[in-house]
Amino acid sequence: MDLLEYQGKRLLASRGIEIPPGQVAETPEQAREAAAAIGGKVVVKAQVQIGGRGKAGGIKLAENPDEAFEHATAILGMDIRGHIVKSVWIEAASAIKKEYYASVTFDRAARKPLVMLSAVGGMDIEEVAASQPGALVRRHIDPLIGFQAHDARWLVYHAGIDEEAIKGTMAVLHTLYDAFVSLDAMLVEINPLVLTEDGRVIALDAKVTIDGNAVYRRPELADVGDILPDDPQERMAKERGVTYVKLDGDVGILGNGAGLVMSTLDVVALAGGRPANFLDAGGGSKADEVVTALEVLLSDEKVKVLLINIFGGITRCDEVAEGLLTALGKLGATLPIVVRLDGTNEDEGRAIIRDRAPSNVVVEGTMLSAAAKAVELAKGQA
C-alpha cells in the first residue's frame, strides 16, 4: 500500500523527523487559505502515488496565496502518468543548502533491511546510483539486532554527509529505521533530505509503502486508507480483492495463481496475440471468485476474446465451470470464450462446459492450444 507524500510525512513527523509546516488542500480555495495560514512562499505539490511529479509540472513554487490558488487550479485534476491529482500539499518553502537521499527498504536477495544514504540527493537518485555508485552508500541491517549507532556513523561518514549535518542525519536514520519497523513498511524514503541554510536536517518529501498483510496491526494507518485506482476495471478489481493489471491488448486473461497467469500472458504473446490484462483469481479460486473476475473482465470493452486458464489444485475445475455458467447467465456475454481446465475434477468441469455452456464457449485440452485458439479468435474479430 503506497501512501501519499503528506501521509508519509506526517507519520515521519510524529516520530520526530522535522518537516516543513504544511496543509492538504482539495480545492484551489483551500490551497489559498493554506498558503495564507502558512505564510511566506509555499510549494504546491500534487499528491499522487507515482514518481516524476516535478517533471510533469505537479510541483510549483507560489510567492503568495493567490499564486497558490492558481497553481492548485492547474495541478488539481491533472493526469500524471495515469494518476488523477485529487489533492495538493501546500508547504512552506525551505532555504535549501544541500540535498541528500535516505531510505530503508527490503533487500529480497539478502533477506535483510537495507539502509541507503547519499550526499547527492534530489530527483534523479536512480541516475546517481547508476553513474556514481560510490555516492550512494548501502548498509544491510540484522533485523534481530536492529539499526545501531555504528550503522548510522558508518553511513554518514561513508556517504560524505557535511560535518554540520552529521548529527541530524544520524538522528533521521535512526527514526527512519524505526518507522520502517513500526509501520510494517516495505519502503521508507526521503528524497530530498535537506540541510537548510540555518543548519537543520529536514524531510522535503516522503515515500512510504506499507505491507498490506500487516495493516491490521497498525492503528495509526486506520485513517490513511487505500487509494482506489482511476481505471474502472482496476478499481472494480481492487474493490473486490482480485489482483488485476490492465495491459493494452485484446485477449482477456483469467487464471489461478500469479505464476500461471504470467505464463499464460507469455504463451498468448508467443502465439502472436496481445494480452488485455493480468488477472489472478487466486490459487484457491472458488466459484464466487470466478464470477467476480469475469465481471471485471467483461466490463472492459477492449476485450474481444476471453481465455480462461485454470489448473485445479485446491481449486476444483467443476466449481470453476459452474462459476463461469453463473457469470454468463448473469452478464449475458456473447464474446468468444476459450476455456482450459486441468487438475482437480477436470473431467467434471469439462463436461459441465460441454453440456451446458452457450456456443460462444469452447474447451481446449492444453494451455498451448487454448492460447492459440484465443489468438486465432481475436484476429477473426479484428
Binding site: R108, S263, D266, A269, F278, G312, G313, D342, M367
Partner: protein, 290 residues
C-alpha cells in the same frame, strides 16, 4: 530417494483443527505421508480422522517422534507457529500460510538461520516426493515418480509444468514450492544444492518469475557449484514493468528483475531456458536423452 520429504517423514500439522488444516492433513495422510500428530492449543486429546491433537509441537514430538511440521495457522499467528516448530526438536518446517507480514518473516528467517534448521515457504504449496509422501496442498494426481527435481516460486505453474512433463512420460524425484513472498525460508540455491546432492535426481527444473534477483544468483551458483544439469523457466515476459503481480515478490527491481534479464543470466551460465511450459518439458526430454 528424494529431498526434504520421504518415507521417514513424520508430520505434525499445526492448525490441524482448522478447515484447511484438517482437509490437507487428511489428504496428505491418504497419499501415504506419515501424518502422526496435529497441534491446536487447548484441544489436546481430540483427534482429526484418527490423527491425535496436542497442545504444543513439543508435546506432539514427545508423543509421536514427529520430525517435520506443516503450518496451517492464520497469518496473524503463523510466525509464532513457525517459531514454535523451530524451538521444538522438529528439523523441517513447511509453512503453507499466505499473507504473513513481511517483517514477521524477516525476524523468523534470521532466527531460523541461526538454528541450522530448514524452513520451506511461507505462502507455498509444499513439497511432494511422488509416490512416497506429500506435505502441503499440491494436487497429487499431477505428479508421478521419476528422476527430475523441480523447484518453483509458483504453485499452479508448478502443476502446469509437471503436467507437461507427464505428457512426455517424465516423473519427478521431488517437487518443491519455495513460495513467492519477499522473504521465504529456502531459496532456489538452497534447494538446488539439495537436489545436486541427491543421487536419484538426474536433472533439475527451476521455475522462476519476474522480480528480485534470485534467479540471477541461482545462475551463479549453478555455474560455480553444481554438476546436475538444470533447465530453467521464467514467467512474466509480458508483465508490465513496475506493477505488482499478485505475489508481493513479483515487483521488478531495476533491469535485473525482468524475465529477459533472468533468461539471459541463466543462459550465460549454460542453463537452457524454455519460453513456455511446453518448451521446458521438451528441453528436459532432450537433456535426458543426450
Amino acid at each position: 530417494m528424494s529431498i526434504l520429504v520421504d518415507a521417514t517423514t513424520k508430520l505434525v500439522v499445526q492448525g490441524i483443527t482448522g478447515r484447511e488444516g484438517a482437509f490437507h492433513a487428511t489428504r496428505n495422510k491418504a497419499y501415504g505421508t506419515q501424518v502422526v500428530a496435529g497441534v491446536t492449543p487447548g484441544k489436546a486429546g481430540q483427534d482429526v480422522e484418527g490423527i491425535p491433537v496436542f497442545n504444543s509441537v513439543d508435546d506432539a514430538v514427545e508423543a509421536t517422534g514427529a520430525n517435520t511440521a506443516m503450518v496451517f495457522v492464520p497469518p496473524r499467528f503463523a510466525a509464532d507457529a513457525i517459531l514454535e516448530a523451530l524451538a521444538s526438536p522438529v528439523e523441517t518446517v513447511v509453512a503453507i500460510t499466505e499473507g504473513i507480514p513481511a517483517h514477521d518473516m524477516l525476524r523468523v528467517y534470521t532466527h531460523m538461520k541461526s538454528t541450522g534448521k530448514t524452513l520451506i515457504g511461507p505462502n507455498c504449496p509444499g513439497v511432494i516426493s511422488p509416490g512416497v509422501a506429500t506435505v502441503g496442498i499440491m494436487p497429487t494426481q499431477v505428479f508421478q515418480p521419476g528422476r527430475v527435481g523441480l523447484v518453483s516460486r509458483s504453485g499452479t505453474l508448478t502443476y502446469q509444468i509437471s503436467k507437461e512433463l507427464a505428457l512426455l512420460g517424465i516423473g519427478q524425484s521431488t517437487v518443491v514450492g519455495i513460495g513467492g513472498d519477499p522473504v521465504v525460508g529456502s531459496s532456489f540455491i538452497d534447494i538446488l544444492g539439495r537436489f545436486d546432492a541427491d543421487p536419484d535426481t538426474d536433472l533439475i527444473v527451476m521455475v522462476g518469475e519476474i522480480g528480485g534477483s534470485e534467479e540471477e544468483q541461482a545462475a551463479e551458483f549453478i555455474a560455480a557449484n553444481m554438476s546436475t544439469p538444470v533447465v530453467g523457466y521464467i514467467a512474466g515476459f509480458q508483465a508490465p514493468p513496475g506493477k505488482q503481480m499478485g505475489h508481493a515478490g513479483a515487483i521488478i527491481t531495476g533491469s535485473s528483475g525482468t524475465a529477459a534479464a533472468k533468461k539471459e543470466a541463466l543462459e550465460a551460465k549454460g542453463v537452457r531456458v524454455g519460453e513456455s511450459p511446453t518448451e521446458v518439458a521438451g528441453l528436459v526430454k532432450q537433456a535426458l536423452t543426450e
